[in-house]
Symmetry: C2
Subunit: 288 residues, 2 copies
């Protein structure tokens, strides 16, 4: 029973109610959650009306989620929480590829594709090549490494957002590195795009005077036997919004030139017009 | 751009992104939210997998909400947040009726009823009378005050939870105090009951080894012109779970005797068998 009306009493009661939690990690997490949530309410002197608005906001956020949309991930992204969790867990050896957020659009399985294949099935922008190697921390190539790739089309939408305009798997591919650890594929140079703004997270951005744009990027998850997988992006050098990514996910080491390349024989080999833009970088994994 | 991988950088970036917020209170609330949410993640070293489970839990919580069920209020209740917000905002003059949580079941309008009417439309338990006065802080009666009442039936369910067994408005009534500020109605003595455990909040209670029960209570919102309304309960003295309410809402001043009363003429007047149980208390409002 709350024997007096002080606000710390109910916090202690709530924390003490966790005494029977079987999993000690769950107890630790919930204790921290209750203490911070209560401290937030006390420090801001949260009103009943504000609490009701928060309940409505969270309810609408949950109800905006579908099989192809994850509004809570988007909320976590725009509050910087997703990037923080990445940073906490993403300590890597110097030289290893840095991680960044998964984002809300890795929700379908990428279609298996052959090296060199075009993931841009609709001609969504300026054609380009992306290539490089998957390496271990000591520089050893990792043959058979898998590279899962996904990106928005030239209009800034992922396939799952516009099933009316894009076939499933557009902008996505699951590649396997060759015997030298090399990967390559064709696509279009990505453009900056806004995160979805027609839900509660869009309301939040408008209320805080924030733009919804992300700088141009391609998502990657690189995996290889005996190594820790890395979830990351490459960002297009010179893109707008590199300094104000709506989800705070840019790291300087992940910004890559999409260099204008004049090489007729390579263009022929890649199946691209000459000259063409070409992003070249290695993905370096740590041994697990 | 996150120029290094330290976890405080992304926190500052997220807080700084709020610089264009038009409403200073919203900026204050979101700044506090981001700082506490990030501190929670840093202190617990929240993993990606735990973050994913939290996203799934919040999504399921939102998707459990319907027109007649509010799982986020329930979550706030079992974390002690609802009671904390009540406590922060419920500072009352000595002698004024203390407030407690609204709870998730005040979601339909209570039917207007005449004083003395029975709100137990299904014969759900031991019949009783509830009566008292609505008073101002100085003891002046408040004629025309409204008393909004809601309670679970003898099986522990609100009308909205069991539309198959209870007519709409069962256990609910909106009463108007008479010329002396008096109110009275008939009902059944409430029983302890479990909060709904078939959703995400039930999973949380099971994982933390907590029982879902609330001690027996009746909800009230009392309002009168020129006074601050009070949202509160009365709890049945001697009920189980007074010391371990699943939502931490018990205050000693709100516990009331449902006294066995032997008074044949009052029983006749109230339309109850003699002897009968009778809860008598005043609701005291502060001038606004």
């Amino acid at each position: 029973m709350t024997t007096d009306a002080t606000s710390t009493t109910v916090t202690d009661e709530a924390v003490n109610s966790l005494a029977g939690t079987a999993d000690p990690r769950l107890r630790e997490l919930l204790t921290g959650l209750i203490r911070h949530l209560h401290a937030f309410a006390r420090e801001t002197r949260l009103t009943q009306e504000e609490w009701e608005r928060a309940v409505s906001f969270l309810t609408a956020t949950g109800q905006t989620c579908t099989d192809t949309r994850q509004e809570f991930i988007l909320l976590s992204d725009v509050l910087g929480l997703s990037m923080l969790v990445e940073t906490i867990n993403g300590d890597r050896a110097p030289g290893a590829t840095e991680s960044t957020v998964l984002g809300p659009f890795h929700m379908t399985e990428s279609p298996v594709r052959r090296l060199g294949e075009n993931i841009d099935l609709v001609g969504g922008g300026e054609p380009c090549a992306v290539s490089g190697r998957v390496l271990s921390g000591d520089g050893t190539p990792l043959p058979g490494a898998t590279i899962d790739v996904w990106q928005a089309d030239g209009n800034g939408f992922y396939d799952v957002q516009r099933p009316d305009l894009q076939p499933p798997g557009n902008g996505r591919g699951l590649f396997t590195a060759d015997a030298e650890g090399r990967f390559r594929f064709r696509t279009c140079v990505p453009s900056p795009y806004p995160i979805p703004t027609d839900g509660p997270v869009g309301d939040l951005l408008r209320a805080t005077g924030r733009h919804p744009y992300r700088p141009a990027h391609i998502h990657f998850i690189a995996s290889a036997d005996g190594h820790a997988p890395v979830t990351t992006h490459i960002f297009v050098a010179g893109s707008d919004y590199l300094d104000s990514d709506a989800v705070f996910a840019v790291k300087p080491s992940l910004v890559q030139d999409f260099e204008l390349t004049d090489d007729p024989s390579l263009a022929r080999e890649l199946g691209l017009p000459n000259p063409f833009r070409h992003a070249r970088f290695d993905l370096v994994l740590e041994r697990s």
